[in-house]
Symmetry: C2
Subunit: 340 residues, 2 copies
DNA sequence: TATAATATAAAAACCGGTTTCTGTAAAGGC
DNA sequence: GCCTTTACAGAAACCGGTTTTTATATTATA
């Protein structure tokens, strides 16, 4: 049978409160007594009921994870699961655990905030989400510490890859290879990252005095291979096709290239393609994909560090953001502009 | 401020127990009263403190997930995160949530079982693990309901792909293509799935009366691209190389092919390669990978169904297993045996 | 009509911890 | 040597629910 603090107390002939003080090292007790209790507790392998402790202390040592499965990205998505993995490892090392914020508990619908309050969640890591979700708004405006990799908000700390810079690097690189007609397959307008990449694209195009025909920009709604494929088909329907394309994500690039290949348009000879993310497998593709690498490990660690510090300093409503550098990874899906 | 059941009771002029009965629909109360309380609770958006409820009821509506990060597989691994995703979706639909079983909580080391008892975990899904882990043994031998995709044990329900059949399908297919020298890159001896695939390979080789030189079998320890690459290097060191290879996983196949390519050995012309898993991206590789597909969705759903039923029927110590069918996916990394 | 059975709601106990309050003994100050 | 702190340990209250027990009003039974 599972022992309680009362069992321990009785067996040692001391008060339950004494046992609690000993195990939590919270003082008000002699060192001799503390050691006696702790030794005995270890000997009988006592471990506390965490629900009872949480009930009283209102601290759960739990971080909520918001991982919206819209936008075609779930746990399977290599990029986010990788960020989550390093986040998880870091917080676990610090004695916290993670818990997915769900909206149906038991049998009733609840909001994000309700979930967090119900479970005394200490802080929330918003991995992916839809910025316009009213549930999310409610949560952000509460005084629960939140960190995100996805959106900006005045009541939120944001850790994000330097998307704008990444896009600029991509365009600059294509320019350096001699390309002048550079298309962009952009992501959903509801995705902050997609918007930033789009901005970076526009900025660099302007800086380089390149023509920005509206036809150069194709919107691909979601970060999926399918949408990339559709974008590729649209691209191919043009009378003359640009010689270079910057895709909002690797997934989109993969679908895009697939469409091109099907129509015997060669990558990189006919069209240079550059992606974004550097998903683990893109180096094994043919051609291997030139892309902008996101530092998923660092993103996860930084988010974890920041969130834990927000939780512990008790000063809430802290806003701000940190840009994590990105890196151009040159592979074989891009090449110098061919004569045509 | 967060309302409690006492606030509700006071505001309605009833007893706390009455409120509890109303909200849980547990009888002993008039329908009129029940409705009155429920309506009011909804109106003021009351939601219960789950820690208090868990403390009393000892039911947590939480499933523990064991996801060992040894064997080179973490959350990033597409196969397991995909199984977990569908598992998670199913149990959440049924009012449960998932929680990763960790071994350091607060600041002390705890065992799997201790974690589960401490948190009143209702059941455990062992996604990946090391069978010899003593922590795992302790958990399995407890009376907490456990389901796994990874190992067999007399006190455990196992949902696993039909690995043996998959391996046989692979060998048979290579045989049908005319190959007679069929090598196998096997996985770690600590992995049940790897062992089953190895068994299937041997069985089919015997059935087909094929020579099974020890050199045909290379051990690749972990399910990683790196190990596949190393296996490929070893393979290339042979005087005469077999014309076909069955790899224990797609990851290993990818590394294996990489090594071959580096030495100008062509896939599939010189060597046909077949993998196992059908990870999402392998269809985009060049050559696209012929492989044995695991039905990750079904694996996750079946595991969830079984676990929830074990939890609810209260009859523990139930053992058994279910084999989920696999499927040969023919792509371009395999071809008929060339004259040599 | 008197009595037993039933329905309903309140009161109280409980889950297993943590924390505050209280009382006593030992240590420190002058 | 007397009074005040301080150290220590036990008692009790509390966290916010659920469940059991008790009390009362209502209905059924004879």
């Amino acid at each position: 049978m599972k022992k309680t603090i009362y069992d321990i107390a009785k067996e040692l002939g001391v008060a339950p409160s004494t046992v609690s003080k000993a195990l939590n090292n919270s003082g008000g007790i002699s060192e001799r007594m503390r050691k006696r209790v702790v030794d005995y507790a270890n000997k009988v392998r006592y471990f506390p009921n965490s629900n009872a402790a949480k009930l009283k202390t209102k601290k759960s040592f739990t971080i909520g994870i918001i991982y919206s499965e819209n936008l075609g990205i779930g746990l399977e998505h290599n990029l986010f699961s990788s960020i989550l993995q390093s986040f998880k490892a870091y917080v676990e090392e610090n004695g916290y655990e993670i818990s997915f914020v769900v909206t149906n508990l038991g049998n009733r619908k609840i909001s994000y905030l309700e979930y967090c309050m119900q479970k005394n969640i200490d802080g929330v890591f918003i991995v992916t989400s839809v910025a316009t979700n009213p549930d999310l708004q409610e949560l952000i405006e509460s005084n629960i510490a939140c960190v995100t990799t996805d959106i900006y908000h005045e009541n939120l700390y944001t850790i994000m890859s330097d998307n704008t810079m990444g896009a600029k690097l991509a365009v600059q690189y294509l320019y350096d290879l001699g390309h002048r007609q550079i298309a962009h397959i952009r992501g959903s307008k509801h995705s902050t990252a997609a918007n930033e990449r789009y901005d970076g694209y526009r900025q660099m195009m302007e800086e380089l005095n390149l023509n920005m025909d509206e036809k150069l920009i194709i919107t691909s709604d979601y970060y999926s291979v399918d949408y990339g494929y559709k974008a590729g088909k649209k691209f191919l329907s043009y009378d003359t096709i640009p010689s270079a394309v910057f895709c909002v994500s690797d997934q989109v690039a993969v679908g895009f290239i697939k469409a091109l290949k099907e129509n015997d348009v060669c990558v990189p000879e006919d069209v240079s393609v550059i992606g974004f993310d550097d998903l683990e497998f893109v180096k094994y593709l043919h051609p291997s994909l030139t892309t902008i690498r996101q530092d998923t490990h660092l993103l996860g660690i930084e988010a974890a560090k920041k969130l834990l510090s927000l939780i512990n300093q008790k000063k809430r409503n802290i806003t701000g953001d940190k840009k994590v550098p990105v890196e151009l990874i040159v592979r074989n899906s891009t090449t110098v502009k061919q004569d045509s």
